[in-house]
């Protein structure tokens, strides 16, 4: 039987946030004149995209019981690099190489020295942010034209942001559901969540390598989100990624992924990210006072996560 609530599913509990997204969308469609317009819906897709991309990367790490708090700094770092005075063909590959290096350090320290991911990635968050602020103390510089064009353009009325989304989701779908790597992620994460950390290794899986690669992939997804944001703000900015790490973890949790690992889904994460974007967009359109927006966001998030009761206690 199709487990709509997902209480027993390895795919996590994604139906609840989807329901919330539909309800918020319906309320806004009837309550405001602007929500259901094509202009606003495309705005929504564009506004959600950096979080969608980052959250997908974050989910890979969460599936193996980890967390990556450095993604926000990687995003800021990426925009700072892209705003350097160098050709695009140098800068664009460079940001992914550097991000992969940051992810490798995270994964290596977590798997080899068994340091808690929060400590490791918090350390890299500070290091990367510090380097970013040395590179670019304040916002400025110019991002390569090709990056701006790749983000701000549209094709037959469909903004490029939507195409970015489709491409990233397709890539992640292949990685998670069509490649052996995805199967290993779920298996290793399931073992970690149930306290049997050696289980996957006993079955011959290379758990350390798989976990390390999850951190590398997570950083690369963050770099991709950074490229997208650099195209949006048309400059480098040392603070643009601040708090994205928390939003990405929230989106992952909201999408039904268990923070202890082993349970979660791509579609749940995408829905989680869109719920957050929908809340921000919806409260703007509904003219909710800025003094109460943050509280409203917190209440809705707690309600959604609270309604996702699990058969087994998990984070």
């Amino acid at each position: 039987m199709f487990d709509l609530m997902g209480r027993n599913s390895r795919q996590g509990m994604w139906a609840m946030p989807l329901g919330v997204a539909v309800v918020i969308g319906a309320v806004l469609s009837f309550g405001t004149a602007q929500f259901a317009t094509a202009e606003n819906l495309w705005n929504l897709v564009t506004q959600a995209m950096p979080l969608v991309i980052t959250a997908i990367g974050q989910m890979l790490v969460v599936l193996v019981g980890g967390l990556d708090l450095s993604v926000g700094s990687v995003i800021s770092f990426t925009t700072a690099i892209l705003a350097l005075d160098a050709p695009a063909w140098v800068l664009i590959p460079a940001v992914f190489v550097l991000a992969a290096g940051i992810g490798f350090i995270n994964g290596f320290v977590v798997t080899r020295f068994r340091v808690h991911p929060i400590i490791v990635t918090l350390s890299t968050q500070y290091i990367v942010l510090g380097v970013t602020r040395i590179l670019r103390p304040t916002s400025g510089g110019t991002v390569p034209e090709v990056v701006i064009a790749a983000v701000s353009g549209s094709l037959w009325g469909v903004p490029f942001a939507a195409l970015w989304g489709l491409a990233v989701i397709a890539l992640a779908w292949v990685l998670l559901y069509r490649a052996r790597y995805g199967l290993h992620l779920f298996a290793i994460g399931g073992g970690i969540a149930s306290g049997q950390t050696e289980a996957a290794r006993n079955f011959g899986l290379k758990d350390r390598r798989t976990v390390l690669l999850a951190y590398v992939a997570c950083s690369c997804f963050a770099a991709l989100a950074g490229v997208f944001l650099a195209g949006r703000i048309v400059s480098g900015d040392p603070n643009v990624g601040l708090l994205v790490e928390l939003d990405s973890i929230t989106a992952v949790a909201l999408g039904g992924t268990q923070l202890a690992g082993g349970i979660g889904s791509l579609h749940g994460t995408v829905i989680g990210a869109f719920v957050l974007a929908l809340l921000a967009n919806g409260m703007n359109l509904a003219n909710v006072s800025p003094f109460v927006q943050t509280a409203v966001k917190g209440v809705i998030l707690m309600a959604v996560v609270g309604l996702q009761s699990r058969k087994k206690m998990g984070l």
Partner: protein, 358 residues
């Protein structure tokens, strides 16, 4: 030949007179006390360009409403100014929370709502540029204040001049500590353009002197963080001739630290905050207050109204007031109000009592 020269001369004189007359005719509108046309940019927004019949919907993208008491008051000042204008049907404030990407999204949301004018307090000097250009392309006038951007796309700007703010404090401190003084520098939020520009003002003031910055820290304009910083600085390096503080809450914190150690308070800069004024008047330390009124929020609303009324405005206005001495601070200080009020304010007495009564 002579006739032709005379004719050309008369034509040139007439043209000059018309242009000069046009330039002098524009700035009749006073956006705020101390706000004057920018002499380096006399571009004029022609009359009627954005004229629209009311009722109007005006949106404001605030860089961070809840950052501190000053940013909250800017929002109140804007709301109050909008509430006094019956042709404004709705005044929408969106809070970017110092998040550049949220500000981009907020401005897009205001454009989608088809507001009649947008007021932007930019989070950073570049991140909102593309959205502002998008708004102007959609025919929506954009008023910019309390932060510069690296673009000329806005319709009207009112710039407080953070360098001026920092330089007023710096010039005063140079006089106080002398050519060879040792100073601490308490900065605001790292990476924020207001912090960088105020600091640049200090650098301009001490250029050519032998003044030594013996400590430079970011207190994020917050009382608690600055208090910890000043405690540490005092213990490690108490020999200081003066303190350049980028914000009043940090000044209050540092003064409290010196008082707690029972030491004389060195000359220290401040700004127009009621709590700081109270402390200054009570303790009598040597200080100067740079002016940076939260009523810029109201000035932004007035500029938006003027554009929608079809008035001629300058493209760029400056706000470069003199520093305040203790006597001027005493005239504004209100013992019956809390430390959270900033001066000068345009809020009504009723609102001041409602929001800030002790």
């Amino acid at each position: 030949m002579l006739t032709r020269r005379l004719f050309c001369g008369l034509a040139a004189l007439t043209t000059t007179t018309i242009l000069a007359g046009r330039a002098f005719a524009v700035p009749s509108l006073v956006l705020m006390d101390g706000v004057t046309p920018n002499p380096d940019n006399t571009t004029v927004i022609e009359a009627g360009k954005f004229k629209k019949d009311g009722p109007w919907v005006i949106g404001m993208s605030h860089f961070g409403v809840n950052a501190n008491t000053w940013t909250v008051q800017v929002s109140h000042e804007a709301d109050f100014a909008a509430s006094k204008e019956p042709r404004i049907a709705k005044f929408i404030t969106l809070d970017a929370g110092f998040d550049q990407k949220k500000q981009v999204a907020d401005i897009e949301d205001l454009i989608a709502q088809k507001v009649d004018a947008i007021i932007v307090m930019p989070v950073s000097s570049t991140s909102a540029n593309a959205s502002i250009e998008k708004a102007v392309a959609a025919g929506i006038p954009v008023v910019l204040h309390t932060g510069r951007i690296d673009s000329d796309a806005f319709t009207v700007e009112i710039q407080g001049g953070a360098e001026h703010f920092g330089k007023v404090m710096g010039d005063w401190l140079v006089k106080k500590v002398g050519n060879d003084g040792k100073i601490w520098v308490l900065r605001g939020l790292a990476g924020h353009p207001e912090d960088t520009n105020r600091y640049n003002g200090l650098m301009q003031a001490i250029e050519g002197t032998n003044i030594q910055i013996v400590a430079e820290e970011h207190g994020d304009w917050q009382y608690d963080k600055a208090k910890s910083l000043c405690e540490t600085l005092f213990v490690s390096n108490p020999e200081v001739d003066g303190i350049w503080s980028s914000g009043a809450d940090m000044t209050r914190a540092c003064v409290d630290v010196f008082k707690s150690f029972g030491t004389a308070i060195p000359p220290i800069s401040g700004e127009g905050n009621n709590g700081y004024f109270g402390q200054w008047l009570a303790d009598g330390f040597d200080s100067i207050s740079s002016e940076y009124s939260p009523a810029q929020g109201a000035a932004g609303v007035r500029a938006a109204i003027a554009l929608l009324e079809g008035q001629e405005l300058y493209h760029s206005y400056g706000y470069h007031p003199e520093g305040w001495d203790k006597d001027k601070a005493a005239k504004f200080y209100r013992a019956d109000l809390s430390a959270n009020v900033w001066w000068p304010s345009e809020l009504s007495e009723e609102l001041l009592q409602k929001l800030y009564a002790k």
